[in-house]
């Protein structure tokens, strides 16, 4: 008799929604949808002495940032917005301008900052230089494969990366102005 009644009655599921709501609210509150994105960077190994400075001065673009966050590119004042264009000109010069690099694979960008440089400007400079390389690589891969660099398969991406190797060298920071 009792058994029969149990089968007949459905379980009361109205509180299920409340329970689910509670859980939902808990997860809503604790969720931090922070996607971890950032600028990838490879540090040079510690014990390997740095490669010898390239013999030819024209193949090095020197980017200096001082403690006041002012930027100097090859001894000329520059702004962050100019940096990408300047870097691209320098890398993709191919011997035209005698002051700029011989060829992209010889070009080195040397970055030096002060201990008092702010991290914000440092990231902006890094970003612009990376962007310059990315744009050059994109242009070439567009021309050759009709695709953007990041969409290329591994083999052709390597070919492009060999044409435009990213050579950013970072000198150890010095304290020129008031550092921290």
């Amino acid at each position: 008799m009792a058994k029969n009644r149990r089968i007949g009655n459905e379980m009361n599921a109205s509180s299920m929604a409340d329970i689910a709501f509670l859980l939902l609210i808990f997860f809503l509150v604790t969720t931090t949808i922070d996607v971890d994105k950032g600028i990838l960077h490879k540090l040079p190994p510690w014990d390997v002495p740095p490669e010898d400075v390239v013999a030819n001065r024209r193949n090095v673009l020197i980017v200096l940032i001082n403690a006041q966050d002012r930027i100097l590119v090859n001894n000329e004042n520059a702004r962050v917005d100019d940096l990408r264009r300047k870097a691209k000109e320098f890398i993709d010069n191919r011997g035209r301008n005698p002051k700029l690099s011989d060829s992209p694979d010889k070009a080195v960008i040397s970055l030096q900052n002060d201990r008092g440089t702010s991290y914000d400007i440092y990231i902006q400079v890094q970003n612009e230089l990376k962007a310059a390389y990315r744009e050059l690589r994109d242009d070439l891969s567009m021309k050759r494969y009709g695709k953007l660099y990041k969409d290329l398969d591994r083999e052709s991406a390597r070919v492009i990366a060999i044409e435009f190797p990213m050579r950013l060298s970072e000198a150890e920071p010095k304290t020129i102005g008031e550092g921290s």
Binding site: A20, K37, G38, L43, W46, D114, Q124, A131
Partner: protein
């Protein structure tokens, strides 16, 4: 006439809420999946810089964080406002980093260790001095893959 009829029948049958739990459960599962429970409590200010050339960090288990920034207000009375490093849940000095790196390495499978990335979450007002100290320590402990965490910027 027909309008009248439908009105009547609607009043008779209330909306069934039987599917409500299912809808809620779907939402619940969504949030459960996307939730990343933070195991560290931020003790430093952390306003990340903006950049465009971003790479997404793919494998969460291979990423370790290093936070740098000025201490939050709670700690400012004792520590001042000079930027500090935070590893896990405590303030640290640059010399503590090799230890931290070793510690993080032991958590990861040996074959995957070269793929480990150290994400530097640095407040944008921090000066480069402390950042380069950290970078030197990372180089010394042979943790060469780093990632400057930043927020996506919409290009003008």
């Amino acid at each position: 006439m027909s309008r009248f009829k439908t009105k009547k029948s609607q009043r008779g049958a209330p909306i069934s809420t039987a599917s409500l739990p299912d809808i809620i459960f779907i939402l619940l599962f969504f949030f459960m999946v996307v939730t990343v429970l933070r195991e560290v409590e931020l003790k430093v200010k952390n306003r990340l810089p903006q950049a465009t050339e971003l790479t997404k960090l793919e494998r969460k288990s291979l990423v370790s964080f290093i936070y740098i920034g000025a201490p939050i207000e709670k700690y400012q009375s004792t520590l001042g406002t000079t930027p500090r490093i935070q590893l896990n849940n405590q303030f640290a000095l640059p010399k503590d980093i090799p230890n931290y790196v070793e510690n993080e390495r032991t958590k990861v499978d040996e074959r995957l260790q070269p793929a480990m990335t150290f994400a530097l979450r640095i407040d944008k007002q921090v000066k480069m001095g402390i950042v380069s100290d950290v970078k030197q320590e990372l180089r010394k402990s042979n943790a060469l893959k780093i990632n400057y965490s930043s927020i996506a910027k919409i290009e003008r």
